[in-house]
Symmetry: C2
């Protein structure tokens, strides 16, 4: 399991055995059961997450309705906004598959960064990558219809379409489960 992490890190920086051991000794691997809510609206959290295996969902509750805005799967990191701004969270994070995640609070992050400056570099690269990706995703979302967004999802994240329940996918696409059902039927019809 740790190898997954080190393989990922090695794409950005190279670690010595000593550094790897230091990370392992932090004991930050957590296994999380499906259905667990890791962060609630109004809650203040210090923890950043990194998904090693499984799937997390980010959602808001607006007018009593869940609105999913993101899924996080293998090798994706989550730094909740409330960690940065130190304000209560506006959204929820919950685990939708039995998962293994890496949890680190702000102090721990600072400790690692000061001990291994390399980490700071990796974090900067990751956040630059994230910013660029985020901008593209945002523009894609803005410029497409629910149907196009669904087709796009099949293309770019086929794994999500398989592993995530339809009603959560619908919520993510910004429509109701019934509409997603219809939309899928429409697409099938077009193909034939």
């Amino acid at each position: 399991m740790q190898d997954l992490l080190f393989d990922f890190i090695s794409k950005y920086i190279s670690l010595t055995e000593e550094e790897k051991n230091a990370i392992i000794s932090l004991d930050i691997f957590r296994s999380v059961k499906k259905g667990t809510t890791l962060l609630k609206e109004g809650q203040k959290s210090q923890d950043s997450l990194f998904v090693l295996k499984g799937c997390m969902r980010k959602y808001y509750i607006i007018d009593g309705e869940e609105k999913t805005t993101a899924f996080f799967t293998e090798m994706e990191g989550i730094t909740p906004n409330c960690v940065i701004s130190k304000t209560p969270s506006e959204y929820y994070l919950s685990c939708i598959e039995d998962s293994i995640v890496l949890v680190s609070d702000a102090d721990m992050g600072a400790a690692i960064n000061s001990k291994f400056p390399k980490f700071e570099i990796m974090c900067r690269i990751l956040s630059e990558e994230l910013l660029a990706k985020q901008q593209i995703d945002f523009d894609e979302f803005k410029t497409s219809s629910p149907e196009q967004r669904y087709l796009n999802l099949i293309d770019k994240r086929p794994d999500l379409v398989q592993r995530v329940p339809q009603h959560l996918l619908a919520s993510y696409l910004g429509i109701k489960p019934q509409s997603l059902s219809r939309l899928r039927a429409r697409i099938l019809e077009k193909k034939s």
Copy 2:
């Protein structure tokens, strides 16, 4: 006009007179006429922009139709994705008001950063701020209807509603001008 820039910078770092002069001597202020297209699809650009006065629009052309995804006004910076990824641009940037912008290419940025390390710090803070803001904006967009997005715009960016033509606003909200017109009429009706 330069004071606008220095006032902005002073919110993040403090500059000596010497540093200010160094910046002025770069001669990076450009005045841009309304209607000018600063970046076209397919074009490779090295230039980052910063709006001192006026308004820029970012849009894609999809199926022959303009899809606006962002407006940039006073004190907002634009680092086109193509500058970072060094790939041809997928979108257009055009000027919708007579404007004054600050233009700097990659070399110039590197030169400033190495001469004044402070700048690097400011850039990091700015991109962190941008990433956080972007995430919130994205979630807001995903979780709201065109009508809510319009009401939100009135609330958060009343200046845009005033200065930007309706059909561009509509494009930005993801709907047709006719729909925005109807939507506005609907809102007025509700108020009374």
